[in-house]
Amino acid sequence: MSVIPLSALDLSLAALLVLVLAALSFHMRLKLTGSLLVAAFRTTVQLCLIGMVLKLIFAHAQWPWVALIATVMLLAAGREVMARQNHRFTGAWGFGVGTCSMFVSSFAVTVLALSVIVGADPWYQPQYAVPLLGMLLGNTMNGVSLGLNHLTQGAWQQRSVLEQRLLLGQDWKEVISDIRRESMRTGMIPIINSMAAAGLVSLPGMMTGQILGGSPVLEAVKYQILIMFLIAAGTGFGILAALAIASRRLFDDRHRLRLDSLKTQ
């Protein structure tokens, strides 16, 4: 089974749908037109660029190139996590908390999957490493940013409760435990929903892409199951790490709530 190539006209027709939507939202004064068009433009440019980069890297499977692109992806994800916080940490922590936790979880899970499960040779083979890391980082980024935002927002809004509990002699871990638990749930809900709905409500993007690309359906299914599990683990470990670092950062050594470690809006 071969891939049916897409022409520029095919893509233009799809773009026309976005333009119609943009015109409709402009007419309805939804204030979405600008961001919709910018996002559509960004997706076109970014995917074309990454396509060229990947073509180059696939042709020269050397680890420094893979490491470089992985670093760029990680830094971009870290920036996105930081940008999505209503009350982000001040200074380097604002960027560092999300980036460090994504680095630990996504990279560890990707390396494990490449070397032990997929068995690519060499393990950093870019055809496997880059897409796998991309999917893990993308989902971990969502989970980490949701979880972190819930934690810092919760601490900000429930300041009087947290301080009341501190005054009664509870330590910082006990005081933040409720918000931390809720933050973990908030961060995990998207991937849990994805896993629960996969195959019933939705056909996951990667599997659909593989099938459209001509891969045998059962192989595509197996890869999708693998990816779902890896994403769930990577996201979960990433959120756990981010919440552990951020929770500690919200308190000082004397178990005082330090909201001055967060930026005000």
């Binding site: 429930q158 009087s160 009341q164 509990r165 501190l166 005054l167 009664l168 000082d252 004397r254 005082r256």
Partner: protein, 206 residues
């Protein structure tokens, strides 16, 4: 006045306030008043180590910097002007509540099954006092503990605190905007104004 288990502030400074030097003897109640924004609440927060500060606070031989903060706060307990609650039912905030204290403040055990959302501000404040006292603190920092109470309940709270701190020999620092109340409960009274603690004489303020 015995000082053995007294509360002492040694050159306490915080957020541009201070230095404060004060000793509240064991079993003594010191009243504190002053205009809004003078730093009364901040002073109590610094003593309970809830805000960063310089200098030292000690309770008898125990120095604040020498013990873990949660332990210090269980011993030197602060009752904030507004109580906060984090579980649905009142009882979920208590481990074992003293029946005599409950009835002294006009409650019985049934209140433990009541949702916090159904309590009035005054009821919450009285229960917050009991919740704090459950730790059997060795010093009390009270920030307008009766501000939201009617006259009868104000007297109930005053009586309970008086009995506790006199029987247990506990120092009390009591912030209030009500001069008559401070005359009733305090052995000495201070005014916090312009960053200074000034001892007030008996003629001070109605």
């Amino acid at each position: 006045m015995p000082m053995g288990n007294g509360l002492q502030l040694h050159e306490l400074r915080f957020a541009g306030f201070g230095p404060f030097r004060l000793t509240v003897g064991a079993g003594e109640c010191v009243g504190l008043s002053g205009p809004s924004g003078a730093g009364k609440t901040r002073l109590l927060r610094a003593i309970s180590d809830l805000d960063p500060h310089e200098g030292e606070v000690s309770l008898g031989d125990l120095a604040c910097s020498g013990v873990a903060a949660p332990l210090w706060r269980r011993q030197v307990a602060l009752l904030p002007a507004e109580s906060a609650w984090w579980r649905d039912l009142v009882g979920a905030h208590f481990t074992s509540v003293d029946e005599a204290w409950l009835s002294a403040l006009g409650f019985d055990q049934a209140v433990m099954a009541v949702p916090v959302s159904r309590l009035s501000t005054g009821e919450r404040q009285r229960l917050a006092l009991l919740r704090m006292m459950e730790n059997r603190p060795r010093a009390l920092l009270l920030d307008e503990p009766t501000a939201s109470l009617d006259a009868d309940n104000t007297l109930r709270v005053e009586a309970l605190i008086r009995n506790y701190h006199r029987q247990q020999g506990v120092p009390v620092l009591w912030v209030s905007h009500d001069p008559a109340q401070l005359r009733r409960v305090a052995d000495r009274r201070f005014v916090l104004e312009n960053g200074q603690l000034l001892e007030a004489g008996p003629q001070v303020a109605p």
